[in-house]
């Protein structure tokens, strides 16, 4: 115990800025692969900036805080605190996971945003849903019907090799709906994701976002799970 403390102090003193001081991996805000305004007019630059710099950052900050508290409680053998922290970890950690996927799900029109999927994923979409339009329509309906805050997902069941559409509440990751589910495309339907631009007309947001959906990324993930 004393040795660990010594190491921590020494490293801190040297100013190495390690993020793994005590073996605890902490997280930081990933950069967006595009400018804030790159997804206009489907999603406004104002929303992208707030969403990334404020909301996602807050989830990361609180996730790191909860993880530190968890490590502390685990070291002390404080079971009741360990259990109490689970909801904060699920919420903030889920927020970090989901938004990290979300940024990759989007691309400017110049970079291929909105281009329909080709290859095996395109074929899978037609097989599972009939057509891309049908998929878009279904996800729009599910997203609009979601009460409160949450996400609507296109995922692949890696065991059954089937595409699925699911919704999750709050910041629950897709895996909470099934351990074999892998997210391909997630659409944030929390009000902060669209309110400044679309106000309460969530269906319009759900229709327009497809113009900037990055199917290339989704195809990569799909081909990895279903080679």
């Amino acid at each position: 115990m004393a040795l660990r403390t010594l190491t921590r102090k020494t490293l801190g003193g040297v100013g190495l800025g390690f993020q793994q001081l005590r073996g605890l991996q902490t997280f930081s805000l990933p950069d967006l692969p595009y400018d804030y305004g790159a997804l206009e007019p489907a999603i406004s630059g104002e929303i992208m900036q707030l969403h990334h710099q404020k909301h996602h950052q807050t989830y990361i900050t609180n996730y790191n805080k909860a993880l530190e508290q968890l490590e502390d409680a685990m070291n002390k053998g404080d079971s009741s605190t360990v259990v109490k922290l689970q909801s904060a970890i699920k919420f903030n950690g889920g927020g970090h996971i989901n938004h990290s996927i979300f940024w990759k799900n989007l691309a400017s029109v110049h970079e291929g945003g909105g281009e329909p999927p080709k290859g095996s994923l395109g074929w899978a979409v037609d097989t599972n849903f009939g057509s891309l339009e049908a998929l878009v329509q279904k996800m729009g309906a599910e997203g609009a019907a979601l009460q409160g805050s949450g996400w609507v997902w296109l995922g692949v069941d890696k065991e059954l090799k089937k595409l699925v559409i699911e919704t999750t509440a709050n910041q629950d990751p897709l895996v909470t709906k099934g351990p074999t589910l892998v997210p391909l495309i997630g659409i944030d339907v929390w009000e902060h994701a669209y309110y400044l631009q679309y106000k309460n007309v969530r269906p319009d947001y759900l229709k327009n976002i497809w113009k900037v959906i990055n199917w290339k990324y989704a195809s990569e993930v799909y081909e990895k799970e279903c080679p």
Partner: protein, 263 residues
Amino acid sequence: MAICGTTLNTISVFRWHWVPIYCRSNISPCQQQRRELRGAQRASKVKAYYGLKSPPYKLDALEPFMSRRTLERHWGDHHHDYVEGLNKQLEKNDILYGYTMNELIKVTYNNGNPLPEFNNAAQVWNHDFFWESMQPGGGKMPMLGLLKQIEKDFGSFTNFREKFTEAALTLFGSGWVWLVLKRNQKQLAVVKTSNAINPLVWDDIPIIGLDMWEHAYYLDYKNDRGEYVNVFMNHLVSWNAAAARMARAQAFVNLGEPKIPVA
């Protein structure tokens, strides 16, 4: 037992719970029914539905703390859509149509497994309650009996305000924060609920409600929830409305020890 058509015939028997829900008009439901009966002897189907109740102030009266733009959207679109949605659902459901609002909320909550009508019904009620929980020139402190009760149940007003703020800021997702009078414990408490849930489902009596759905504050405060809650406490909350609700609540919950003189 069915309602509507048959109700009109039994209305003269004055069985209150069969009276259809009244429109938000100025005459009492009973008077409206009697007028209808006198006017048309042939008993036509009379259906009354929920209306969108106006807040007790103009839409710009809460500026600059809650903008007219927000009120127009929040009341004019969100609250309006809940009312419309509820009416559409009730059109197709005779049994649910017959309930009063409070009963409807409890029944559709279904002990935690809510029916599809719950979200609309509860949100209609929640928003009515929310507009009335605020007033222009609000904030400051509660007075007299309500203040005494808060100090008794929280230790101090500051402690209550801290608890209320903490609940608001630690709510995950969409929901509401309430100052509520708990029937069983005969005490005031701060409670946070998810989505559309409100304290009526546990038979408790709400005194103040604050909407923490993002649409309630995003246009004015973006993601700065802390500022929104502070502004609510400092400038918006209507302690007058709270005091009136508290007074009414005391007709249902015995809060004090009766002062029995020692013989």
